[in-house]
């Protein structure tokens, strides 16, 4: 009978989907774990950089640094944003939330957007933002090397006066239940981010070749550190969102499959009952 066969086909389809979503969930879970481990390894490096920058400001407070210059008086200030999304969908509300946050803060006229990940890139291009895609970074290349390349590029743009402010839009996993999009400032640097103790000079530090050269290097590394942190946090959020989405998809597939099996059995039984009554009816007629 056609009915039972149709149901059987649907059951097979749903079971297939279930297998896929289950596999995707496992993949997301393992990527999540790996990204976390990677992040933990990098922490001492960036902590060190922050400490050294604090040391410098402590020992040479008179140093005027361009990286702290807010350029408030400049006309036509240009803001730049780095927005991190994923490369593909199937991760619940992850991308939508980041894009919503970005739309809220980005002023289309005077800003440039550096997208990381395909979803946000395509969206921004479609909606008339000034998008710079030359970095060509996808969300899957989360390494300190890519973060370093972006940081170097940004610090240079800032130094050359092409951008006056740089912000990062990313997603943070605040708890198991909530993934929240955040915006943080990367440049110019804020003095309050470094715990410079009042009272000034603690020890005299020598610089080789000059404080400026050393500090520029540090700024690169510092921006890289924050950027990398944001990238990892986003990556973790993405895979967590995907894991959840795939988990509920698997549960739903199970439910559907259960219901279909029930329907299938009912249809099968009905067919048998009908056949039996037909046989009996036929036998009674011949007698």
């Amino acid at each position: 009978m056609a009915n039972t066969r149709e149901i059987k086909l649907r059951i097979r389809g749903v079971e297939g989907t279930k297998k896929i979503t289950k596999a995707m969930k496992l993949i997301a879970a393992s990527k999540l774990k790996k990204a976390r481990e990677m992040h933990e390894k990098t922490l001492p490096f960036f902590k060190h950089i922050q400490e050294v920058m604090t040391d410098i400001m402590q020992s040479t407070p008179e140093m005027k640094l361009i990286y702290f210059d807010k350029r408030e008086k400049k006309e036509n200030r240009k803001k730049a944003y780095i927005v991190i999304s994923s490369d593909s969908g199937l991760n619940g509300g992850y991308n939508t939330n980041v894009i919503k946050e970005a739309e809220k803060i980005i002023d289309k006229e005077n800003s440039i957007v550096f997208p990381i990940g395909n979803v946000v890139k395509n969206y921004m291009l479609k909606h008339g933002y000034n998008v710079i895609t030359e970095l060509g970074i996808t969300a899957y290349s989360v390494t300190t090397i890519t973060a370093g390349d972006i940081a170097k590029h940004m610090v240079k743009l800032f130094k050359d006066g092409e951008i006056d402010e740089l912000e990062l839009v990313y997603t943070e996993m605040e708890s198991v239940m909530s993934l929240v999009p955040h915006t943080i400032k990367l440049l110019p640097l804020e003095i309050k981010d470094f715990k410079v103790k009042a009272g000034g000079v603690t020890e005299v530090l020598e610089f080789e070749p000059t404080p400026e050269v050393v500090f520029e290097r540090l700024t690169n590394q510092y921006v890289k550190g924050i950027l990398y942190g944001g990238m990892v946090e986003s990556f973790v959020s993405e895979h967590f969102a995907r894991m959840n989405a795939m988990d509920s998809a698997t549960t739903n597939a199970e439910k559907v499959s259960k219901k279909l099996t029930l329907d299938y059995n009912r249809a099968r039984q009905q067919a048998i009952t009908q056949e039996i009554s037909e046989i009996i009816g036929g036998a009674m007629n011949t007698n």
């Binding site: 040391d55 300190t144 530090l205 610089f207």
Partner: protein, 135 residues
């Protein structure tokens, strides 16, 4: 016995080296710098170069990339992007990378930023090759 000092090499992929050593040397932007115990506090930007570590009269060599070295009375730390022991460097790979970068530098008309990039890459490869010959 000579006085030792705490020395560490920190990279983004973790702490590469950590021990009490007698002497280290590396290349700063304006020349070589050697550090022994009780060195004056200093902050040095370093070139990609060979890092020499001496401990108990035994020398070991490693490649370090661009970064900086912080010298304080308590300890000396090199904070760099990459670090590799001399014997784990793939010299052939480095030679190849250097050649490719050199060819690109010569053959095409390039903008300034790409040029500096290539020059930095050649410098890194050269330092790698040199380090690997010291194993």
């Amino acid at each position: 016995m000579a006085k030792t000092f705490k020395f560490e090499v920190v990279t983004p992929t973790g702490v590469f080296y950590q021990d009490n050593v007698d002497f280290i040397s590396f290349k700063a932007l304006n020349g070589d710098i050697g550090v022994m115990a009780n060195h004056a506090p200093m902050l040095v930007a370093n070139k990609p170069c060979t890092l020499e570590i001496e401990k108990n009269k035994e020398k070991s060599f490693a490649f370090i990339s661009e970064g900086f070295v912080e010298i304080t009375p308590e300890k000396v730390s090199a904070v760099v992007d990459l670090a590799d022991w001399a014997d784990s460097i793939d010299a052939e790979e480095a030679i190849k990378a250097k050649r490719i970068a050199e060819e690109e530098l010569e053959s095409k008309t390039l903008d300034a930023s790409r040029k500096t990039e290539l020059k930095a890459s050649i410098e890194r490869s050269s330092a790698r090759i040199k380090t690997s010959s010291l194993r």
